[in-house]
């Protein structure tokens, strides 16, 4: 504490000399002392932002115009990487299956989370049930991927054992190109469903109960009230949930890396996996940066569109 008060005294002493230089005497001395302390306190955040967000952003854009193999300095190649991107069938394939994954995960995930949240809201306020639903969110993607890979194992996995008893057939969940992406999307839904349900539930609690009482007086059924009252009032939160899940889903990597590693035969080679392979498998950092830039622009565009279309910042409640 002693050091701190000394520091404060030093600030007080220097304050008058600064006032001479400063041509705005309207600013009180106390306020200027605030400014010194404030800048000191925000220094870590500013440095962290500049070094690990700002600088990498610019450097990433620069690298996408270069050929760069990490060990030797990057060489400027202009638009060559972008031309390569346009003609890269693997990239377009990756983009297609990533979009497929995003659609599957976001649509089923959002519908399920919404259903769970709405039902919880009308049935019970039990924090225990919400807690249990949240369990998959607390464990890592790696664990989620491993346990599902075990449960979906073609021979010994419990799901396939049950399937075999019911239908006489097993499913190659990770081993067939048709099933790989839906399987990964399902695992992702399992992992995030509870989190988004709790998020939507929090939103539902902001809707005044009087609205439902009024609805009931008017003779509306639960289903009618859900579509006429709940959904419109929930729109801002739903938009946020969808934007968050889209951004999340586009960056899917962990569960793919642990289970299929992009296979079979590129069937689950999602964008992030392809970028990782290019950068750390082939050390083609320049081209990997170009693809990251494409993903960044894509995400920014999608987010902007979603917010525009949904007018997220306007609530019907206020």
């Amino acid at each position: 504490m002693a050091v701190v008060s000394q520091e404060n005294r030093a600030v007080v002493v220097t304050a008058p000399t600064r006032r001479v230089r400063n041509r705005r005497p309207a600013v009180p001395a106390a306020r200027r002392r605030d400014a010194r302390v404030a800048w000191l306190l925000v220094t870590p955040a500013v440095v962290g932002f500049a070094v690990f967000y700002g600088f990498p952003l610019l450097r990433g854009i620069y690298l996408s115009f270069t050929e760069f193999h990490v060990l030797t300095p990057p060489t400027w190649v202009g638009l060559a990487n972008f031309r390569q991107l346009l003609g890269d069938d693997v990239f377009w394939h990756s983009l297609r299956i990533t979009v497929y994954f995003v659609l599957l995960q976001v649509v089923t995930g959002t519908v399920l989370s919404l259903a769970i949240a709405a039902i919880l809201h009308r049935l019970t306020t039990s924090a225990l049930i919400r807690g249990v639903i949240l369990l998959p969110y607390l464990i890592s993607n790696v664990i989620a991927a491993l346990v599902w890979q075990w449960m979906l194992d073609p021979q010994l996995g419990i799901v396939n054992v049950v399937l075999k008893n019911l239908t006489g057939d097993t499913v190659q969940f990770f081993g067939s190109s048709a099933w790989a992406i839906p399987t990964l999307a399902a695992i992702s839904v399992w992992k995030w469903m509870g989190y988004f349900a709790v998020l939507i539930f929090a939103g539902l609690q902001t809707i005044p109960p009087a609205i439902y009482e009024a609805g009931r007086v008017d003779g509306a059924s639960e289903v009618q009230m859900f579509f006429r009252l709940t959904l419109p009032l929930l729109r801002p939160i739903l938009v946020m949930v969808v934007v968050l899940s889209v951004i999340n889903a586009f960056q899917v990597f962990d569960i793919v890396q642990v289970t299929t590693q992009g296979g079979p035969a590129n069937a689950s080679n999602v964008l992030q996996m392809y970028i990782y392979r290019k950068a750390f498998g082939e050390f083609d950092f320049g081209y990997a940066a170009t693809m990251s830039l494409a993903l960044l622009v894509l995400l920014a565009g999608i987010t902007f569109l979603q917010l525009r279309v949904a007018r997220a910042n306007q609530s019907d409640l206020s």
Binding site: E7, W39, R130, L135, L146, I158, G194, F285
Partner: protein
């Protein structure tokens, strides 16, 4: 009548959701306590097949090679304790630095008046728009140039000083604190640091705890960044080790019992946090939308 039918249907739906959510956790425990050979002969038994603690011994490196192979292990041990230590250092270190830096920054942004405050805050807000996907590669190059790969400093570097959510979360809370106590302290001649450490931080203990929990969970579960910057056992966190353990196990007949035991070792700290702080974690998920 239809009303009651609807309620029953809703409860059934909820029960199915809960079952699907919880069953994999049960299956991890059941498999982790099984003999790996017995798993093949009793794939659908709900109880552990040929109950044994062998998988945990394998994972913790306590089983001899012959013991491990007798129960279907690959002979590869995981050294779970070492990875566990690494995960604790990484998660606790990152949490401590993030919470400290964010608290300091949040105080400046919420309680002090200074020129450029709002402009600077808007600039920092931009960080939320940049997906980690994009900064990951350049950050790797940077950390590599700084010679920080395979070190805990390199692991925590990208997020330690500035983690957007943490700063905004604390600022939001501090904006709502009453000013009277602070003003009284100023009248008494207290400096800003004294106010921060003696008044504001104690008043913010609730949000600080919540934030620490969430940060710890995020760091504990992190996979991609550690995958990029760590290649040595001495710093790799447990999430990475799980992948390594899986790859060391033969593809045709993996040591599922051992893998699930390892998974459990990695999940237990999170489940313990959940048992102790469950309500706090549940309530913290509001409109902030973590991550």
């Amino acid at each position: 009548m239809t009303q009651r039918f609807g309620r029953v249907l809703a409860w059934v739906f909820l029960a199915v959701v809960l079952l699907v959510t919880v069953f994999p956790f049960f299956w991890i425990v059941r498999t982790a306590l099984s003999n790996n050979f017995a798993l093949a002969t009793h794939p659908s038994s709900l109880l552990p097949a040929d109950f044994t603690l062998g998988p945990f011994k394998r994972v913790l490196g306590l089983a001899t090679l012959s013991e491990a192979q007798a129960e279907g292990g690959s002979g590869a041990s995981l050294d779970a304790l070492l990875y566990l230590r690494n995960s604790v250092i990484y998660a606790a270190g990152l949490t401590a630095v993030v919470v400290f830096c964010s608290a300091a920054g949040a105080y400046a942004f919420a309680r002090l008046r200074w020129r450029g405050r709002n402009a600077l805050f808007s600039i920092l807000l931009c960080a939320l728009m940049i997906p980690t996907v994009f900064t990951m590669l350049p950050n790797f190059v940077l950390v590599k140039d700084l010679g920080l790969t395979n070190s805990f400093a390199g692991l925590v570097a990208p997020n330690a000083l500035f983690f957007a959510f943490a700063l905004f979360f604390l600022r939001q809370f501090m904006l709502g604190l009453p000013t009277e106590i602070e003003e009284a302290a100023i009248v008494d001649g207290a400096g800003h640091f004294r106010i921060l450490f003696r008044i504001i931080l104690p008043m913010s203990s609730g949000p600080l705890t919540t934030l620490s929990l969430l940060m710890f969970i995020v760091a504990w579960n992190d996979y991609f960044w550690p995958l990029l910057v760590t290649g040595k056992k001495s710093v790799q966190p447990l999430t990475l080790a799980l992948g390594v353990f899986k790859q060391s196990s033969p593809n045709t007949a993996p040591d599922w019992a051992g893998l699930m035991a390892a998974t459990l070792v990695a999940a237990v700290p999170m489940l313990a946090l959940f048992v102790v702080f469950g309500r706090r974690i549940v309530n913290s998920i509001g409109f902030t939308g973590f991550r």
